[in-house]
């Protein structure tokens, strides 16, 4: 019995740790979704770019992946701003029959990024062999007579803590600064924000940059605990998408909750059903949310708040 509890708790911990990182990926997507009403299908590919930056700064300059958050995040911010300024904004102005041109455009961007990575870096699997990769804390070290044994990987916990710190910083930025408030205003009502003197064009650029920076930070945090290959983007775009659906359309609180739920769910399917089932589990969550809770978690939060 205690072995089963141990397994369950261990899986739960792994799920929460994974969920924190998923939340960070989903947050970037939700921000872009909220402000620009488009889905960024190049999201995972942007993360792949950040991971390559982290990998090469480790490989050439021996920069720790956690330190390269400070390199990759600004780099991705600039990349995001550039993409928005030179590709997405021009498309917003173009008259066309299909309203989803920007979404198709992000698919094109993602294709170019992942294919260029394959051409330049080959499809090899890479990872950063940091010396703390196998380090872990054990419950019995702290509590000698504990009836169950749990372990906590060092790298996973650092990644999780950093993800929480970045999320807190984002929250501070969005709620306590003028620029952050302008971004939220743009997301709530574009026309009203325009009338209040918000430079919507600049906010869009900033948001896309911020979304890219967030997923870039997530990429660096994934680097010590995951491996890297050029086609990895598609999988993480899917994850970001499921997280935003689960959380509710463009809701940032929802994205955090959605990320944690998806993390726990994936960890559970991996333990109890097998590793290969994770993509299928993701899809089942996706379908279940669409059928039973189309507004996502944030619709529950909202109805509670208004007492409906």
């Amino acid at each position: 019995m205690s072995a089963q509890i141990e397994l369950f708790l261990q899986t739960l911990i792994a799920g929460i740790l994974l969920g924190g990182l998923y939340a960070l990926i989903g947050l970037g997507m939700a921000l872009i979704m909220g402000v620009m009403r488009i889905i960024n299908l190049a999201h995972g590919d942007l993360m792949m770019v950040a991971m390559y930056i982290a990998f090469f700064s480790y490989d050439i300059f021996h920069v720790d992946p956690y330190v390269s958050v400070l390199i990759a995040t600004p780099a991705l911010f600039l990349l995001g701003v550039g993409l928005q300024k030179f590709l997405i904004t021009p498309v917003l102005k173009v008259e066309s029959i299909l309203p989803h041109n920007q979404v198709i455009l992000t698919v094109g961007i993602g294709m170019v990024l992942s294919n260029l990575a394959t051409v330049f870096f080959k499809s090899d699997y890479r990872s950063t062999p940091v010396d703390y990769a196998t380090k872990a804390w054990y419950l019995s070290d702290f509590w000698r007579n504990s009836p169950i044994e749990l372990s906590l990987s060092f790298a996973w916990s650092v990644s999780f803590v950093l993800a929480v710190v970045i999320t807190a910083m984002l929250w501070f930025f969005l709620t306590r600064t003028d620029t952050g408030k302008s971004i939220r205003a743009t997301a709530q009502d574009l026309d009203a924000a325009l009338l209040m003197g918000v430079n919507v064009e600049r906010m869009r650029m900033l948001t896309f940059g911020l979304g890219a920076a967030l997923v870039g930070a997530a990429g660096c945090l994934f680097m010590p605990i995951y491996y890297l290959y050029p086609a990895l983007g598609k999988q993480f775009t899917n994850i970001a998408f499921v997280v935003t659906i689960l959380g509710g359309l463009g809701s940032t609180e929802g994205a955090i909750i959605g990320g944690v739920i998806l993390g726990i769910f994936e960890s559970m399917t991996a333990t109890y059903l097998g590793m290969g089932w994770a993509p299928v589990g993701r899809f089942i969550i996706f379908v279940a949310v669409l059928v039973f809770l189309p507004g996502g978690v944030s619709s529950l939060l909202r109805s509670r708040r208004f007492g409906r």
Partner: protein, 312 residues
């Protein structure tokens, strides 16, 4: 004259093989016609009804596999897959439509993307049914000469073209366009949007599935990575229509000619082969920014540009 253009063009296409083209050129011709069928299918759903799908590989692949599976499991000719695929793909499209047509706009786009991937993963893992990554090999080819395959796909293309033209001119077509332009307005006018979106999805899926069943018979070999491919089927389908012209009758054909020739050109240059997706992506970006309605949709714009250049 315009009225007879389709018939004239069909007659021209039917006469092309009589010139005596090489096997390779026939292959390219067949691919062009097949891609224009898939493009027309996508155009019905994406162009006219406004529901952009990134998962048409799912329908193409299900069509291809229904032909492959009756060949391996029942031992009958894979050509029976063409009628069978109509039923199978229509059922699959109904289920997919029930789930994903609840979504609007970009969320629908993403759900179709996910569905395409789920079909690929399932086809890889359901080894008892699909033989997994080994794929299905059709051992005996019906004809050595490509000419009969050409006429079959040309027939499918002609029927599809006629069907879509009739649909768009009918009440159904106006409903589709109304849904594309403003779904809420369409709903408030009493159009059952879910029903008509489902009809558009089923029609589109069945046509793409027919092309898939043809593909199995023509190529003689399918595996999950080929027929359920995201980058080589789903995205190319979108590109065929985007390049040719969204919501135009001739767009898919124009797009198919350009895309197939472009792909063959890239493949023939050894250094560029690995980077073909980059070039596709750049082409897609250029088309979206400069010719958002495609070559057939923006003809007047292209002509105007050319005229300015000539006069200046």
């Amino acid at each position: 004259m315009r009225k007879f253009l389709p018939i004239v063009l069909l007659a021209l296409f039917a006469l092309i093989p009589l010139v005596g083209l090489s096997s390779y050129l026939m292959h390219i011709l067949i691919l062009v016609v097949m891609w224009s069928v898939i493009g027309m299918a996508w155009n019905l759903l994406g162009g006219y009804c406004g529901q952009v799908s990134f998962g048409h590989a799912a329908f193409f692949g299900v069509g291809a596999y229904s032909a492959g599976i009756i060949y391996t499991k029942l031992g009958v000719s894979a050509w029976w897959g063409i009628p069978l695929s109509i039923i199978v793909v229509a059922l699959v499209a109904l289920v997919i439509g029930y789930i994903s047509l609840r979504l609007r706009g970009p969320y629908f786009v993403l759900s179709t993307l996910a569905i395409g991937e789920v079909f690929r993963v399932s086809a890889e893992n359901l080894e008892g049914l699909t033989q997994g990554n080994l794929g299905i090999l059709i051992q005996e080819r019906t004809w050595v000469e490509k000419i009969w395959y050409f006429y079959i796909i040309l027939f499918i293309a002609a029927v599809t073209f006629y069907l879509i033209k009739k649909t768009i001119a009918s009440r159904l077509g106006y409903y589709f366009v109304a849904i594309r332009e403003d779904q809420d307005a369409a709903e408030s006018l009493g159009i059952n949007t879910t029903l008509y979106k489902t009809i558009a999805l089923c029609m589109s899926a069945v046509i793409a599935g027919l092309a898939g069943a043809f593909y199995t018979n023509y190529m003689g070999y399918i595996d999950p990575d080929v027929v359920f491919s995201l980058s080589d089927i789903s995205i190319v389908t979108v590109m065929v229509v985007m390049v040719g012209g969204v919501a135009t009758f001739w767009g898919p054909l124009v797009g198919a000619v350009i895309m197939v020739l472009f792909a063959e050109l890239i493949r023939s240059i050894p250094m560029l082969g690995a980077a073909h997706q980059t070039l596709f992506g750049i082409l897609l970006i250029i088309i979206i920014i400069f010719l958002p309605n495609g070559i057939a949709g923006d003809t007047s714009k292209i002509l105007r540009l050319l005229r300015i250049r000539r006069s200046s």
